[in-house]
Amino acid sequence: MDKRNNKGWLYLLPAVLFLGFFMVYPLVDVFIYSFEEGYNSASQTYFGVGSYNYSYVLHDPYFLQAVKNTFILVIITVPVSTGAALLISAGLNSIKALKKLYQTVYFLPYVTNTLAVGLVFMILFKKTAYTDGLINLFINWFGGGSVDFIDGPYWAKMFVLCFYTIWIVMPFKVLILTSALASVNPQYYNAAKVDGTSKIRTFTRITLPMISPMIFYLIITGFIGAFKAYSDAVALFGTDLNAAEMNTIVGYIYDMLYGNSGGYPSYASAAAIILLILVLTVTCINSLISKKHIYY
């Protein structure tokens, strides 16, 4: 084959144009802004070039709070939601009656609007002058004191945010895992049965390896999604996330651009590049681990 076939590039042109225009160019642009001090998008001017933006962002207590929040969110919600989704789909896969109904029920949160779910969570968790909320009712019932989950202590707010995030991301995981489980050839289970394999061993030694590609897919996309969390926090705690100590990295970027204290595209760009490096690192680590453990 002729290696200098220009026709090939012609065929690639639409994709190259689109990707270049909407992905590569903005990325490069953001990278450049992040090194331009005091960049103003209206006048297209800046004071100087250097790493000051990074220094500012990394010393900003709000950013450090956002990084902490994001990391807690990632570390808690990804394993918990994946694990719970695995249990639910394994359960769904082993029942016969009402399977379709349960599948639909578990999938409902996925088609429900984030803000609507947020509203319901507010009703469940929020403590107002009139009521302590449904969850506090239960806590009181078991003898505990009321906790303000929305405006109260940090751990309570973080708990609600994690719970909410898990609630939102789980249906998709259940959907993917149920279909992955259903696609395992039943002959493997028959073979395991004839060999007298216990249920637990069948699950850990046969089912899990067989669906491992899907699990790793969910973990990687879960990490990326959790790192990019923002709307969930807004749905629960409103737009002033810094005041609520519940900001995320993406929330910080947004605030820097458009928020009340906004108008700093340089800081936003620096924060965005830091986020990119974080996500990239975690994804690379994930891929390296998955290469060892995954069976295709």
Partner: protein, 366 residues
């Protein structure tokens, strides 16, 4: 271990409740498999042979009837407590485990007093791998093996627990023709060496005939005939069995018996005794024809296929059920086949008569 099947039936309830057309996969299966024999369950697809195998294995429970292994009634036991080894049609090797791990898998499941130490397990795996000659491949994954090698691994995995009964579902159907010949010899050797009672399912009559001690021919869930391969071939009980066994297949003619003479079309081919006048089917094996210038069966010669030692004469006859008649003749006696007509005499012991309505075998004296 001998296996006894008593009045075994399996009915799958119909999905359409209104039609009430339950599917009878196996109906009243009675059979005693002698200890250490290799039994082939043979039949066209959908005849219930795989269901029968699953019933013996315990993957399915019979609607009626009992199954005994030796003197133990195993009908209500789950497969893991029956002591069976099962080789699946597509082998069902765990793709993420190496050959060694696959073979070890059943041993690692053993609990309590049966539990083996690690060196014992490895020794057993080694032993069975040597038996099926895959000891060189122990560290490979199934995807890195050929079909035949995968087959051996599957057999090794089934044998490693030293099962009382070995069951194989279409063991050779995923192999190419050459490998199939080789593997079936191998299967026979392994079975002889281990002396484990073995039941295998196949739709390939040649496969079943070549290695089985006993074949069981099934149709629509019903056992048509059980016997030694040669006996079943020589003496089929009905038209179905006659047609199903033999390659090339038996030639079927419509004919009649009139006053002690067997007619095929208008040709009086044989004198027979003991059969009342009636319309019948006549089955003649390809080797049942004798080329004879004055023979009674007059056929139109179509072509001659030379196969070396033998020749295959393809001809037509008005009363033939098949579009052509295939007869296998010695190469020497077929030297002067040039005419458009060819005449055959029939070997009486190779002519099989079947009732027109019942399709059951009619025996006669020459």
């Amino acid at each position: 271990m001998k296996v006894v099947l008593q009045h075994l039936s399996k009915v799958f309830p119909s999905r359409n409740k209104k039609a009430n057309a339950d599917v009878v996969a196996v109906s009243d299966f009675n059979f005693e498999i002698p200890d250490g024999e290799l039994v082939g369950l043979l039949g066209p697809s959908g005849c219930g042979k795989s269901t029968a195998l699953n019933l013996i294995c315990g993957l399915q429970t019979p609607t009626e009837g009992r199954i005994f292994f030796g003197d133990d009634d195993v009908t209500d036991l789950p497969p893991e407590n029956r002591g069976v080894g099962f080789v699946f049609q597509n082998y069902a090797l765990y793709p993420h485990l190496t050959v060694r791990q696959n073979i070890l898998f059943p041993l690692q499941n053993l609990k309590g007093s049966d539990k083996l130490s690690k060196p014992d397990m490895l020794a057993k795996a080694r032993e069975v791998a040597e038996l099926v000659q895959i000891d060189e491949l122990m560290d490979r994954k199934p995807s890195e093996l050929s079909g035949g090698q995968q087959q051996r691994v599957a057999i090794a995995r089934a044998l490693v627990k030293m099962p009382r009964i070995l069951l194989l579902d279409e063991p050779l159907s995923n192999l190419d023709a050459r490998l199939r010949l080789q593997t079936r010899e191998e299967l026979r050797r392994i079975q002889r060496q281990t002396q484990i009672t073995t039941v295998f399912v196949t739709h390939d009559q040649e496969e079943a005939m070549s290695i089985s001690d006993i074949i069981v021919v099934m149709r629509n869930g019903v056992v048509e005939q059980i016997g030694k391969p040669q006996d079943v071939y020589d003496n089929p009980v009905n038209l179905f069995v006659a047609k199903f066994l033999g390659s090339p297949p038996v030639n079927i003619f419509t004919g009649r018996v009139t006053d002690g003479t067997l007619f095929i079309g208008d040709d009086a081919v044989l004198k027979i005794n003991g059969v009342p006048n009636q319309d019948i089917y006549v089955g003649i094996r390809p080797e049942g024809f004798i080329l004879d210038r004055d023979g009674p069966l007059r056929c139109n010669l179509n072509r001659v296929e030379v196969m070396g030692r033998d020749v295959s004469v393809i001809s037509t006859h008005d009363a033939s059920d098949n579009s052509t008649i295939r007869s296998i003749i010695d190469a020497e006696s077929a030297a002067d086949l040039e005419l458009s007509n060819v005449r055959f005499a029939i070997k009486p012991n190779k002519a099989l008569l079947f009732g027109k309505e019942t399709e059951a075998r009619i025996f006669f004296n020459v």
